[in-house]
């Protein structure tokens, strides 16, 4: 009755499912200039909004005069805090339990802070209006150094909460102190350190930088007063969370708000938060009755939207004489800027910084983090990493190097000696995490062999001798890094943002002719979700990936989810996709059993069909089952073939990897050349190897940028000195090397398909690899620690301070 079944391999290949390097479905529109980014949107009568921004880092706003601006042709309105106050919108809640001024309310607290919002016919008229607004300031003393925040006579930044002794994360000991967060056992750690054979101590600074996606942030807000509906298109990495926040702060019922994330031109954490531009656009649309667009420019983006890092990490690590690590102590001073606008799960004000024991079996550890206000932009987002995981990885991977120097031991050997062993997983860390799986030694040995580690060390020693003899001015650095990430936030029991549990979701509808649409609570910003999530489904439900449309980002149609950041899409929404697929398959099995007149249990799944056990000629393909679900009255089975899954992950996932960077450094110019970069990643089950490799290339290049030059710097007056792409380093194709990628596969035991997430690993592991290469090159000349970014000037200064120019 059925035609001959093609071989299993042929049918599997036709699905383009898990493990295939499927070409991206997104590329047709992107390569032809037919993407749909927020600034491409043009609605009838739409106006454009732009900000008057503060030139000062700390000042009282004496007066704002909007008369001249309002008199200009094309200017429709100028909003100030006084206009927003009656609506209760002059301040807004941050994701970290603090609040932030939408427009300057009496004072400004960082340079480029939003002071007034000019609404005009177009961006040119708006710029005219911005220039015509007159603001009178009275300058106040500026605080840029977090270590001076609690000194006598330090300026009080947040007068609004100066008297509050209790913050969102516990007691506050000073008006400029936000929180202190602790993990681990302080007394036990102090005891171990006091009795240790060897203790290495160092301040590790991970400087302030910025995600700087190529597309800046922006939105179009449209209040339809006839239907009472507000629609906002914008660069949102978490559209559902934005809808809920918008409802809570505006009082507009949540069902009357529709948030749409169109194509997003990169996010890297920058587009997680809620910015004053969104709030002002919404208010302006309500006031003017027409749609209002706000698109920031590059300097606005770098100076005012969320920064990343800025952690001063004081470390102490102890070991036995032969290199067995016994304890780790870390005290971090975290510069949060003027408002605490970190995007961390509520219970984790320092993110997952307590993954800072890294890949090592460290029995005793203690971490404390002090959050501090300064006159800098708010933020503290996870720039291509899970919450503060890159800070943690940089800290431990530097401390290992510092300890290796103190012990006089090879840093690769020290790592291998202290790795958590394969048979120790699931592993309970001293700072409170349960690592789900890992096999560190296998990847590490593979990496060392791949680069010819022993020969490199010989070459390096010869180079040092040649340098001392005056035969060369170039040193060789070998940068080692073994990282363990914690991603996929996360279990609802301990992960929420503003009370919203961090589950995620997928909804699938199978059409009568056997194709499908799936919608998720996440949103791609370049990761290729439409390609990869269709692959997960293809393997689960036996429908070719090319027959599955994948949609995200529209809160009116997508199921609720917490969005895309922290490498959570694959671990959480990817799991939801697989689970929803399994529900489809379970119903399909009942339908097939009815059609084949057998019991459910008599059927087995075979790639794209259910087959009667022992009778391979009797089967029903998913295509046939799909049609039957729409045209057969099956007793006890509802018509149609749909499923939805809300997935609450039982644990985080723990991707890991071994990275090695070989770097040539010219001591006279401070210039560097990456001679080789080898990256071995273990992200568990691999969904699309082509996309994984692309993610690794991109993440490593962002790591290169951060380690070697990218920085948000302030002068003593709180002026941003890196507010354009002239000063803020983004590597071009010339500085960027070719990377060598490799992998091992250790599936996550609790994820339905064993996947762990990969997008952020290369940034987390890459930064220490680049930085360690610089340090390693100068190790023979006495360098233990220097601060990133390692730009040419800083490297030259390091060489100078070591007397290498004499």
């Amino acid at each position: 009755m059925n035609e001959a079944t093609p071989p299993k391999e042929e049918r599997t290949a036709a699905l383009s499912g898990l493990g295939t390097s499927r070409k991206r479905v997104e590329d047709a529109r992107f390569t032809q200039g037919k993407g749909n980014y927020v600034d491409d949107l043009k609605l009838p009568d739409m106006l454009f909004g732009d900000f008057v921004r503060s030139p000062y880092a700390h000042a009282r706003v004496k007066s704002i005069n909007t008369e001249k601006a309002l008199a200009l042709p094309g200017v429709h309105a100028v909003l100030t805090a006084a206009d927003l106050e009656p609506l209760g919108l002059h301040w807004m809640p941050t994701l970290a339990g603090d609040k932030q001024m939408v427009l300057a309310d009496g004072k400004v607290l960082f340079q480029a802070q939003e002071v007034a919002f000019v609404v005009a016919d177009d961006r040119y008229a708006a710029a005219d209006g911005v220039a015509a607004v007159e603001v009178e300031y009275e300058e106040l003393p500026v605080l840029v150094d977090p270590f001076k925040a609690e000194a006598d006579g330090a300026p009080v930044l947040r007068e609004d909460i100066a008297d509050q002794k209790e913050g969102a994360h516990g007691p506050r000991r000073h008006p400029n102190h936000i929180f202190t967060w602790e993990a681990g056992d302080r007394a036990a750690t102090e005891a171990v350190l006091a009795e240790a054979d060897v203790v290495a101590e160092e301040m590790i600074y991970y400087h302030r930088t910025h995600p700087c996606p190529l597309e800046p942030c922006g939105c179009v807000a449209s209040m339809d007063k006839v239907n009472g509906k507000l629609t906002v298109w914008g660069t949102f990495q978490a559209p559902h969370a934005v809808r809920t926040v918008a409802s809570l702060i505006s009082g507009i019922a949540e069902h009357n708000i529709r948030i749409i994330s169109p194509d997003i031109g990169g996010g890297f954490g920058n587009k997680v938060g809620v910015y004053p531009g969104y709030v002002c656009s919404i208010v302006a649309s309500i006031v003017t009755g027409v749609p209002v667009k706000w698109i920031e420019d590059r300097s606005d983006n770098l100076m005012a939207t969320a920064f990343a890092r800025d952690y001063w990490m004081m470390g102490r690590i102890s070991a036995t004489k032969d290199g067995k690590i016994t304890g780790l102590h870390c005290h971090t001073t975290a510069d949060h800027g003027a408002f605490d606008a970190c995007a961390d799960p509520t219970k984790f004000p320092a993110g997952f910084m307590n993954i800072c024991t890294g890949s090592y079996d460290i029995p005793t550890a203690f971490l404390s983090v002090d959050g501090i206000y300064t006159n800098k932009a708010p933020g503290g987002v996870a720039y291509r990493c899970s919450f503060r995981v890159t800070e943690a990885a940089y800290f431990i991977e530097r401390m290992i190097e510092v300890l290796a120097i103190k012990l006089g031991m090879d840093a690769a050997e020290l790592r291998a000696k202290n790795f958590i062993k394969k048979d120790q997983f699931p592993y309970q860390s001293a700072l409170g995490w349960e690592y789900d799986s890992g096999d560190y030694h296998t990847g590490w040995d593979k990496a060392l062999k791949a680069v010819g580690y022993d020969d490199l060390r010989k070459e390096q020693a010869e180079r040092v001798e040649a340098f001392k003899r005056g035969e060369t001015r170039t040193l060789l650095g070998i940068g080692l890094s073994h990282f363990t990430e914690i991603v996929g936030a996360g279990p609802v029991k301990n992960c929420d943002i503003l009370g919203l549990g961090m589950f995620d979701s997928c909804e699938i509808r199978i059409h009568p002719t056997g194709s499908a649409i799936a919608r998720l609570g996440t949103i791609s910003q370049g990761q290729g979700h439409a390609t990869t999530f269709a692959q997960i489904l293809a393997s689960e439900i036996g429908i070719p990936a090319e027959d599955i449309t994948l949609e995200e980002g529209d809160t009116d149609t997508a199921p609720y989810g917490l969005g895309t950041y922290g490498s959570r899409s694959t671990p959480v929404a990817g799991a939801a996709t697989a689970m929803a697929g399994r529900k489809i398959r379970a119903k399909a099995q009942m339908i097939a059993a009815y059609l084949l007149e057998v019991h459910d249990n008599d059927l087995e799944w075979d790639v794209d069909r259910f087959v009667v056990k022992g009778a391979p000629e009797r089967f029903k393909t998913m295509k046939e089952i799909a049609f039957a679900s729409y045209n057969q009255a099956i007793p006890g089975v509802e018509p149609g073939l749909e499923a939805v899954s809300y997935y609450d992950p039982p644990n985080m996932t723990y991707p890991f990897g071994s990275y090695i960077c070989v770097m040539e450094i010219n001591v006279d110019t401070g210039t560097t050349e990456i001679r080789q970069f080898y990256a071995l990643d273990d992200c568990g089950t691999r969904i699309n190897p082509m996309i994984i490799e692309g993610q690794v290339h991109g993440g490593l290049t962002e790591a290169l940028a951060i380690a070697m030059g990218q920085e948000i710097a302030y002068d003593e007056q709180g002026n941003v000195t890196t507010g354009t792409l002239m000063d803020f380093f983004i590597p071009t194709a010339v500085e960027t090397p070719n990377y060598q990628t490799d992998f091992t596969v250790t599936p996550s035991p609790h994820h339905p398909i064993g996947a762990k997430g990969v997008g952020e690993s290369p940034n987390v592991g890459g930064v220490p690899a680049f930085s360690n290469a610089v340090h390693d090159a100068f190790k023979a000349f006495g360098l233990t620690q220097s601060h990133m970014p390692h730009d040419h000037w800083r490297i030259w200064k390091t060489a100078e301070s070591l007397g290498l120019h004499d």
Binding site: A28, F30, G35, G265, G694, A733, T736
Partner: protein, 162 residues
Amino acid sequence: MEKMHVKMKVNGKDVDLLTEPRTLLIHALREELGITGPHVGCSSSHCGACTVDMNGMSVKSCTVFAAQANGAEITTIEGLGSPDGLHVLQEMFKEHHGLQCGYCTPGMITRAYRLLQENPNPTEEEVRFGIAGNLCRCTGYQNIVKAILEAAAKMNEMKESA
């Protein structure tokens, strides 16, 4: 502000715009002509997302006034290929995963197009220098370079067989 006429040929079509003298070419293209392929990334000619071809040269249209393009012939990503016949570069960017978020892609491909007109047989180093005015935050360039080299080879093959 008094408006002025700007006549251009854009992707083979004659256009006559009435616009302010201060209007930038990128805004004339995107907002007045609805050609939204080229993007704005920095407004300061560093990132190259706005790259278009103007009279046979790559220009960053965020730092060219529309008025300066009066009489010019402009090609944007929309003019390089069509859904029925993609340009080889468009094919190769897809084939080699030379894009992720897609924001730099129109400018990058338009620049690569001109680069290969100027130098049909570039080395890897020449490609890297040739696209150094175009920033990408997602790909690390490795696959972009691969795509351009492969496109060059294919375009040369097509020329030879023609």
